[in-house]
Amino acid sequence: MSDHLVRRTLQRDVLPYLLSARRLRRQWFYRLHVVFGYTTDLIAAFAAIGVATPFLSLLGAVGQPPDHSVSPSMASSLRTLPTWLIYPAAVVVVAWIVLRVAFNREEGQKRAVLAKSCTRVLHRVEAQLADALAKPDPMPALTGLLETDIRPSVDRNIQEDAWPWAPFAPQIDDEVARELEVLCKRYERDWAPTDPADIRLH
């Protein structure tokens, strides 16, 4: 059963897409989207409950007593920091600004949202794969998943720069082989034997 059609389809077509999709979460735009999403929400939440301004005042108080005649800002707070904290804080602020600008210029938000949607679609396909592979002839279901879910989703993401490979992530063969063995061990005995020759039936 080393070259069953289902096995070949999983190895050649289905698994490389599914495993590449798992690596989407490691892309810079995906990670920054998560970081910016959390920080923006946290800052907004703090501001809403009135914690942001006291926090800046507190930050200023580390260096010296706050000047209550002016409202606290990041710039004034940086000026009042202890000397040893000024450069690290400036580096963090500049890095934050550079990342924000790069993220916006490179359409990071759009790419991350598309990538997130794609990973969801392919995650759902992974769940449907179990049902498909449990059938005696999984080929119609596998073809359906490839044609209606996997390829259209990946194509859209490639065209929008949200899928950085063409079309599979590099060095994915070992991972594919491992996953294939797991799936075959679980389901292969359920598959009906097929003619090894690749021929048109009628």
Binding site: L146, R151, D155, I158, A166, D198, I199, R200
Partner: protein, 122 residues
Amino acid sequence: MNRPELVARFDLSPTGEIQAIVRPKHRHYRLLLSVRGTSDDTYAVTYQLHESYRDPVRESVDRTNDFQLAFTSYGDFVVQAKVRSKSGTVTLARSLSAALTDGHEGSMSGPLKAAFEEFARS
């Protein structure tokens, strides 16, 4: 901009013999489908073969051989190719016999011509 072209060839052995699987009803010729003239940003071609194959939709991601696909057929049918690139998807469709004629660039003779005639009749 050139439009990509779907072509096919009979698969020949190193000694020039036509490769085929012989079954009681038909001779299933081994064919090589490919798409010439794809743009540099093409990353895959998905071929739609006759519905009677057990896996009628097949994909090639190897641009070094013009996204070649090896398969067998005993006779003619219309094959479809979706050329997938960063700039979009182009769908091509043509009969295998027309693709074979272009693939061999009109230079079929002897056994190759006989095989083609038998193939085109089926």
